[in-house]
Symmetry: C2
Subunit: 363 residues, 2 copies
């Protein structure tokens, strides 16, 4: 299958963007390899239509890179505070390490899929009632997590950390991500080694990698960090990005999606460069194509929360969708779409979408 | 570089074993591709010697597979009990989920290296004194972990779990592993998402993959599991293995290694088949070449403990090496070697070794 770098002149991908992605089209494609479109134009409108349809059908079917390792962080302060409050109470919400380092964990690379691929509701062990034995069955608290993620460029040799000054140039570009999560499985399994099966069944990313160059006009100061980070984590450059993010849910029978979250990439206390530098400070070797997720990006307001866990406050306050139905967590047949864009003057840098529909669990 | 399947008639790799591995030799090798050694014999003893030296030098330089994802479990009861006792006291040593499922976490695949590669002491944040801010510097509690690990064979499609009955045939073979660990980094970072930098700087495996067929005579019943596991984890076949395991440490100046641990692969409460089945029960797709570690294999006796953390009881009781020096944790220049074999009647199935020397931290 041939692969291409493409860009399209539409609202998400104007000339200012030029994202990278991989797609394939069956049949002859030499016409695109010639640096101009004259030969393609000569093929006539039925070919143009077929090509467009093929593009639409195929371009979401390929991951933009072979992902060696996938890591996920936990870098939004509102998100970590919300989750901590639900699990441990308000006064003990942030663990003491959280303000000193970007907390993260290694995730599962094999189940990172590209937008458009349906995902299966997972099964696993859960224990709601501590006085009874755990039970095995379908996840009943299936969630999304609104995230961004970046691909690593050249990387580093084992034993030779990436310094914070080198980190910018080590980031190839950014995608949107939905880190599907099974909250009931997570609660039972995660002590003491962290989330495992609760996160390993699927992670959806958008197919187009938006470069840091395209996002340069939207680079802003990150949240003030207090206490001041250790010198190895101090970035002299601005390293947050002002990118609007949105999540919608559409039930199987619903006529339209409902926007359930409006957040922003700037709500990251720890930035991408800090995440990458921290990850490699032990000498861990990063490789081209490694994917590093930001962690759920929740803003401070309720409508900016980036997961059902937070939006429904652990299921206690289900939210209403446009068709009148309620959601505490995701139902079978629900389609979750993450979108994002940076708004320039007269143009926008779009990210496309990270879309997935929940299939019933395997029988 | 050409690759081969080889077997050698020596103590570790007799005809009963026939492990798999990848190695490369510079120069012409067509003589080995002909199915018999006559042409090689014809080349004479200087070529034989050079070939042997090249083999010794090179065969430990290649991982036996491209590892897609690496997961590590926590399946020895003595190990989990020891660590839990040190961290939380005797009465609360095993967390309540431990007897119900094989606790595990996703690890870092990029830094899995083959026996013989030196590893760098990591740097990172630690906090020994909770009344003071964390500090940044070299790891001061560098440890080994004695483990076995298995490679996945065909794998499964996303959404379609591997059943316990299919699990045996999904295991390609077993290697030895040293999961290098930075205990001081781990202690500060691991709440609430588990070990991350403490484990991502290096993991050493032995180069030869010993097949389950070779280990068939050594397959035994696993430890009795009480409470009885959920049906999806009940294996009707015996699935533990009687394989003796050993760890030695040799300081830079020492004339000989000191054996510091004698353990056995049978000290796993959760077996390889249970680990694999549990891993995929959510529908997580396993791929050929995925590596699943057993977790530190400690036996019930002190001399069977599989880590310095346990052997020196968190550094409080340093152990003596043959040269008179003491170790609470590993020093720069220390060489750690993990070996293992199953003892048959008149032959043994060996695993070779997982060897690594600690280099000083990056300046
Ligand atoms: Ca996440
Ligand atoms: Ca381990
Ligand atoms: Mg995920
Ligand atoms: Mg390791
Ligand atoms: Ni260097």
């Amino acid at each position: 299958m041939p692969s291409f770098r493409v860009f399209c002149i539409d609202s998400d991908f104007p000339i200012e963007n030029i994202p990278y992605g991989i797609f394939s089209i069956p049949g002859k494609l030499g016409v695109f390899a010639r640096g101009q479109l004259n030969d393609f134009m000569a093929l006539g409108s039925s070919v143009w239509k077929k090509t467009r349809a093929a593009l639409q059908k195929f371009f979401t079917k390929h991951l933009p890179a072979a992902i060696g390792d996938y890591t996920d962080f936990y870098s939004s302060r509102p998100h970590a505070t919300n989750v901590g409050t639900m699990f441990r109470g308000k006064d003990n919400a942030l663990k003491e390490n959280w303000l000193h380092l970007p907390v993260g964990y290694h995730g599962r690379a094999s189940s990172v899929v590209v937008s458009g691929q349906d995902i299966y509701r997972p099964k696993g062990q859960t224990r709601d009632d501590a006085t009874k034995p755990p039970i095995f069955g379908e996840c009943r608290r299936l969630d999304f997590e609104l995230e961004a993620a970046f691909f690593v460029g050249p990387g580093n040799k084992m034993g030779h950390p990436i310094s914070i000054d080198e980190a910018h140039d080590q980031i190839f570009g950014i995608v949107l991500m939905n880190d599907w999560s099974a909250r009931d499985i997570q609660k039972w399994e995660y002590v003491p080694l962290g989330p495992f099966l609760a996160k390993n069944f699927a992670t959806t990313i958008s197919p187009w990698i938006v470069t840091l160059d395209a996002l340069e006009p939207f680079r802003i100061a990150s949240e003030k960090q207090d206490p001041s980070p250790k010198p190895y984590l101090q970035d002299k450059k601005l390293s947050a990005y002002d990118v609007q993010l949105q999540v919608s849910i559409q039930g199987k029978e619903a006529k339209e999606p409902t926007i359930v979250s409006n957040s922003n990439m700037k709500y990251l206390y720890w930035t991408f460069t800090q995440q990458l530098t921290h990850h490699s400070v032990t000498g861990c070797n990063m490789r081209p194509g490694d994917l590093l997720g930001s962690g759920t990006i929740s803003g401070p307001k309720k409508e900016e929360y980036g997961s059902m866990l937070e939006l429904s406050w652990s299921g206690k306050k289900p939210i209403k969708l446009n068709d009148g139905s309620e959601r505490a967590f995701l139902h079978d047949g629900d389609t979750v779409v993450v979108t994002g864009h940076a708004q320039g003057k007269g143009y926008r840098i779009g990210f496309g979408e990270a879309r997935g529909t929940v299939l019933p669990a395997h029988k």
